[in-house]
Symmetry: C2
Subunit: 452 residues, 2 copies
């Protein structure tokens, strides 16, 4: 029987039974995927009951698995002192991310219940933009002065083994007497050293970044270096924190996911179906309303040619096809440009080269698609000129669509507008207008031939 | 003057001058982004000249920065013995990835020029599917028998420090006398151990995976564990290789990028503008041709109502708007479902809950968008009934579109069809047909009122 009980039902049962030990055991057995899925199946009150039933350490482990907005929403509804005990168990970079998602007032209440040190640290991290080194760094790291001996460092590490478990102990950071970062000492170098060596003599110079270094530069750094963390230092060279490779990659992945939603016009790039319907509706509707305006403008081209349409009513069948197919071709070019921008293969200055490459593909595909559609129109209405009009319009508009789709992301990038968000609506509006115009203008110019 | 010379021009100059030392220095100074961009700006012959000018080690470093298909294309055109010296300098997991992208014949020629050991290893790795642990693992790792002493291990590590530089030396793998994996020994534990301890006593039990473990399970593992690598063992428990966290994340990122292209119907999810136009055209055209067929089917609904259209020609303006707006609304629901599937928040069995959530948002947005479009129609033609027809049709079709957009990805997932690829065309075809039908059927039913 037990195998048919879903994890979220099982969790609810264990919470209802107040069997906290079993609850803990059960959570330990759940995989990451199952835990996240179960949490999203539970009602908000049940999720809170779960967090309250857990030790702060376990509750923090659960929160770490959730997207930041969702973790924040849960903490918001817990009593502030309870939320504070959980937040203090999070690594400092995660704690700051979650607190940053809260309203200032809620965040302040939780900070007020935290230890003074933890709270001060969190405040410092929240002050940074979340996409720069300062916002991504954690403040747990191992720091020793250059004059210390290998044996003293090892003794300290042994003494604090438990506390340091959370830290990134592949690297130790070595400073001078004034707390300025001199470099890193790799754990593996400690392995090979003599107990009486000064660690200053084993230290390798390390690159560091300033707290305002942007995410892109950090991605570049980790692409070029096999290190799993990079130190962050202030202008005086004093060590402020450490950015983990993992924090950088997680943030990049989160942005990529958000871009997918933003590209479909979901404001802020965040939507979970656990959010209230009215909020979800509002986040989607802003962009849809803009889009319907653009659509009406594009379709007004059709209104200008009502007489032609009335004379050859079959044209009305082909207008949505030309509009949709041009959109498809253009979006392919957008997707390739976005990818090449991400990979760094193209840059805004390559606009002419990209256009040439797209135009040649557009010409081939336009001729192929135009022939197909033209043949279909000819067969259906038995009028070759109708085929020529709609096929020619689609062929020409395919070239227009891929030219716009390929180059607009580069222009937007140069203007520092997010191409994933803005390229779609621009593409659709322009290609719709051109497509409707080509079909109807060609038809008007050879109207007598179409009416036979 | 030098600052205005682009990196790719500078590289070409240095190759032309045959100043290999300077070329090497210049490459070392280039960032990852600049190097990749410069390479894609260079003609294929120039790229080959660059690789030939470099030492095999440096050429391998350059190739590691490129997407696998592109690296393979470059190797293909080099003499096989030259390609072989470069491939032997790649980490074994990267070497296998690149060789797997080549035609069997080209790969065999290169393998024929490689050291027997390296070639045998590469053949073994290529035999695995590229998305399972066997295909992702590297065969460079440190393996010691449990009976060895800490001091012996350290001595071996010191002796081979150079060779092991490429290895993942955070972990040593400990086996029994029969080569079966017993567990891992962390470098940091070696730091803290006494020289005469047996490493078997320091070994922690380690999870391992089979060579056929799929990518998703590896992602799950690295989400749940802070480790940077996991050992791969055969059914007898013998250590075959090690999968690095980095290899898993790189593969996931590559798939995400490919999905974006596949979702726009680019076959195989691979296209670079450096590929020949005809090949690029073919990769895009297959899907476009399918799509134009679906479009013609959807538009045939319009053909059924030609009489209604002829009577109220203004309807022709609104058909593309209803089609496009329904597509937008539906694609928002698709994007949210794809994201929730990726995060593991929803699973195929949640179809009814997802539909309920979508329908409520669809109702609100449908009423809002329908009112907007209806008002525009009313104002333009001065006929409130026309507004009712197009507004009502859009409102109803918005509910249809989000219902399909939200649930189809879940059905596709259950059928093991890639939802990112198939959801779009299904959505567009069905919502177009429904949209055209609603507008024209409503109009037909109240035709006398629209003609006044």
């Amino acid at each position: 029987m037990e195998s048919t009980t879903k994890p979220w039902q099982q969790l609810n049962q264990l919470i209802a039974d107040e069997s906290h030990g079993e609850l803990q055991d059960y959570l330990d057995k759940l995989s990451h995927q199952d835990l996240v899925h179960a949490l999203f199946r539970m009602a908000p009150e049940e999720q809170q009951a779960l967090l309250s039933a857990l030790t702060p350490e376990s509750a923090a482990d659960v929160l770490e698995e959730l997207p930041d907005v969702h973790a924040a929403a849960l903490l918001e509804d817990l009593p502030a002192f309870e939320a504070a005990t959980i937040v203090m168990e999070l690594p400092s970079d995660d704690a700051a991310d979650v607190l940053a998602e809260l309203d200032t007032q809620d965040a302040e209440q939780i900070l007020g219940h935290m230890d003074a040190d933890d709270a001060a640290e969190a405040r410092e991290l929240i002050a940074y933009d979340e996409d720069v080194a300062g916002g991504l760094m954690m403040t747990e790291f191992l720091k020793y002065t250059e004059s210390m001996l290998v044996r003293e460092v090892l003794a300290d590490m042994r003494r604090h083994a438990d506390e340091y478990a959370l830290y990134n102990v592949q690297y130790l950071y070595v400073t001078d007497a004034n707390e300025r970062l001199l470099g890193i000492l790799r754990a593996r170098d400690l392995v090979l050293a003599q107990p009486d060596e000064r660690i200053g003599d084993l230290t390798r110079p390390a690159e560091s970044v300033s707290p305002t270094t942007p995410l892109e530069a950090l991605v570049d750094f980790f692409e070029d270096h096999e290190l799993s963390a990079i130190p962050v230092a202030d202008t005086l060279g004093r060590l402020l924190g450490v950015v983990r490779r993992r924090a950088v990659y997680d943030t990049v992945a989160e942005h990529a996911e958000e871009d997918r939603l933003k590209a479909q016009g979901i404001i802020g790039g965040e939507e979970f179906r656990s959010m209230p319907s009215l909020l979800r509706s509002r986040r989607r509707l802003t962009w849809l309303s803009l889009n319907i305006g653009l659509n009406i403008i594009a379709a007004s081209i059709i209104a200008l040619y009502q007489d032609t349409l009335a004379a050859v009513i079959a044209l009305a069948v082909f207008l949505p096809i030309v509009s949709d197919m041009s959109g498809c071709s253009g979006n392919q070019a957008v997707a390739v440009s976005l990818r090449e921008l991400t990979l760094g293969i193209v840059q805004p200055m390559d606009v002419f080269r990209v256009w040439l490459k797209e135009a040649s593909v557009g010409l081939i595909n336009g001729l192929a698609l135009g022939s197909l559609l033209g043949a279909a129109a000819w067969l259906w209405q038995g009028n070759g000129y109708l085929g020529l009009v709609v096929g020619g319009a689609l062929a020409l508009n395919t070239v227009v669509a891929v030219s716009i789709g390929g180059t607009v992301p580069l222009f937007l990038k140069a203007l520092k507008i997010d191409p994933a968000v803005a390229a779609g609506p621009i593409l659709t509006t322009v290609t719709d207008m051109c497509g409707f115009f080509f079909v109807l203008a060609f038809a008007t110019s050879m109207l007598p031939l179409l009416q036979t």
